[in-house]
């Protein structure tokens, strides 16, 4: 289903969900690469429970701004909250950046969640859906990946974790 091209040694994994409404046609979107036009981003600290709420409200507002419908708002806000919580709980705090995207007249949203925590030793394992077993609720990384169109994890033990996700608007 979802394409995975992880290189375990680099602890890096990217993929995109096979959602029917995937990103605009063209080359796969490369974070950091030129291509999609990006608006000015806003950065939020994630250092307390209250920050998690602030981030949630900010992401909600950004999805509304980008014209996302209720269902996609829910997808993005849920993924953002999960990633921010991971950064807070497992990464000892970090930041979340919201960046509006535009490409081929379509709008999108990119979220970059960083922490300086211990890193994820086994990204593939963390991406596995331990959910439905009911036991290991894991990081919810796999769930966040499914909720978004594009997904990338950069991590290395001891060097923190950065997760970059984005989703495009259907309209």
């Amino acid at each position: 289903m979802a394409q995975r091209s992880p290189t375990a040694s680099e602890g890096r994994s990217s993929g995109s969900s096979d959602d029917r409404s995937s990103g605009p046609p063209g080359e796969p979107w490369e974070p950091g690469a030129p291509g999609g036009e990006r608006g000015a981003g806003s950065r939020y600290n994630v250092a307390s429970e209250e920050d998690l709420l602030t981030v949630r409200h900010a992401v909600r507002a950004a999805t509304v701004e980008a014209g996302f419908g209720l269902v996609d708002q829910t997808r993005i806000v849920t993924a953002a909250s999960e990633l921010a919580r991971n950064a807070y709980v497992h990464g000892g705090g970090g930041s979340l950046e919201i960046q509006p995207l535009t490409r081929s007249g379509r709008k999108g949203l990119r979220l970059t969640v960083r922490d300086d925590g211990p890193g994820i030793p086994d990204v593939e394992e963390a991406l596995g859906d331990g959910f439905t077993t009911g036991s290991g609720l894991g990081h919810g990384l796999g769930g966040a990946r499914r909720l978004m169109h594009e997904f990338e994890v950069r991590t290395r033990p001891g060097e923190g974790t950065t997760v970059i996700v984005s989703r495009w608007n259907d309209r």
Binding site: R20, L53, R56, R60, L70, V71, Q73, T74, R75
Partner: protein, 430 residues
């Protein structure tokens, strides 16, 4: 500022003393009112009863006096000093020397520790004061302190209420979103099922012959797999018109279920068809089919029923290989099972032993089927008798309804699920 012990006889006095100490220690307003409210609640009972309380306060020590604090802390623990010089602590002990029992310290706005006896203690961290004690000069009035506290408390409550509002809204949005998301995903699921079901049915249809329309005969068929949503198993039928105008019908039940037996059944119907179209005599077709298929499918075993019908005269000819007997129900209701001995494809000595000849008059109904129809309760005889009754009951209905109506009635109880084909032919005035 030095440690002090004061004896107090009124709530007003207690609050006033505490507020001044807290203010001098530079306590944040919120901590100050929490401390005052808490001490009030602890001491109220005693003071109301006219018994005095003792207030002992130990102000925070300046950074250059480490350990100094411990003097006023008889029960001081080492970890109290571990905070180091970055911030001090204001220590407040409230002694109720005459209290008949230990006061409750539950749910205080500022939690207190209980010392042995009837003493409550608060150790309140204080901010590092810059240089001299900035708050010592120009002490405000008690009313000012209270007003300040009230203002802070109200602002805090209002800010919380606003947060609360946003959070409730967010939760409501999320709830609507989850509902909508769920519906979307379920609809997607439904569309997926429907699309696959469509393809499956089309593919199954591709395996089955198109309807044959011949003046003088009405034909209809009903098939259902043993498992709902599974594709056809090894039960298959075929019907076509021969060059001489007679109608040929094949019903086959290939060994096993699932899709390998579908292939076997296809092999049989197509071989029979080609041989029939080739002009082979009906009595030899079962045996010839076995010969033709044996060369490349050694596993194949199938029972087979062949029928020929002349739409003009109603003449019926049957051949059979190990297949359950066809059923003929006359217009008037008499019925008979048309038994023809013979052995199926892949059986020892394959072939139909003879042909059975009969005749359909207008209104007569011929029922061909596989054993899934009659053996759902495990007893073939019992099933055949029920089939006779069912077919008799439904024989006047529109032909398209009859096979399914019979199958429904036969399958009210299913002890042994099996693929089922039911095929009916009725002669009508040509």
């Amino acid at each position: 500022m030095k440690p002090q012990i004061t004896t107090l006889h009124s709530l007003a006095g207690l609050r006033s003393a505490l507020r001044r100490v807290a203010h001098r220690a530079g306590l944040p307003v919120e901590l100050r009112y929490r401390l005052a409210l808490s001490a009030t609640r602890v001491a109220r009972g005693e003071l109301t009863a006219g018994r005095p309380v003792l207030l002992e306060t130990v102000p925070p020590q300046a950074p250059h006096q480490p350990g100094g604090e411990a003097d006023g802390v008889p029960d001081g623990r080492a970890d109290e000093l571990a905070d180091g010089p970055a911030e001090g602590r204001l220590i407040v002990r409230l002694h109720l020397p005459h209290a008949p029992r230990r006061p409750s310290l539950e749910g205080l706005p500022l939690p207190a520790e209980r010392l042995p006896g009837t003493t409550a203690v608060w150790r309140v961290p204080t901010p590092l004061l810059s240089g001299t004690d900035a708050c010592r000069d120009d002490p405000p009035g008690l009313g000012e302190l209270l007003e300040e506290e009230l203002s802070v408390a109200v602002d805090r409550a209002d800010a919380l209420a606003e947060d609360h509002q946003r959070l409730k809204h967010e939760l409501a949005e999320t709830n609507s979103g989850v509902l909508a998301l769920y519906v979307q995903l379920e609809e997607r699921d439904e569309q997926l099922r429907q699309a696959h079901g469509r393809i499956l049915r089309q593919l199954e249809d591709a395996l089955r012959p198109p309807p044959v329309r011949v003046p003088g005969l009405e034909m209809a068929v009903h098939y259902e797999p043993a498992e709902k949503h599974a594709p056809t198993g090894g039960d298959l039928y075929d019907w076509f018109v021969l060059p001489d105008g007679t109608v040929h019908i094949t019903v086959v039940d290939a060994l096993g279920h699932g899709l390998t037996s579908t292939r076997s059944a296809l092999n049989v119907t197509h071989a029979v068809r080609t041989l029939a179209l080739e002009g082979h005599p009906l009595e030899s077709i079962v045996q010839r089919t076995d010969e033709v298929l044996a060369t490349f499918d050694h596993e194949l075993m199938a029972t087979v029923q062949l029928a020929r019908l002349d739409p003009g005269s109603g003449e019926l000819v049957l051949a059979n290989g190990s297949h359950p007997p066809a059923l003929l129900v006359r217009k008037g209701g008499e019925s008979s099972l048309l038994e023809v001995r013979g052995r199926g494809i892949g059986f020892p000595l394959p072939g139909s032993e003879r042909l059975l000849r009969d005749r359909l008059d207008p209104g007569d109904l011929l029922v061909l089927y596989t054993d899934g129809l009659t053996e759902s309760r495990r007893d073939p005889r019992e099933g055949e008798q029920r089939l006779e009754r069912a077919a008799r009951r439904h024989r006047h209905r529109p032909i398209e309804d009859i096979p399914a109506a019979i199958a429904d009635e036969m399958h009210t109880v299913i002890l042994h699920p099996d693929d089922t084909v039911a095929l009916t032919v009725r002669r009508v005035p040509g």
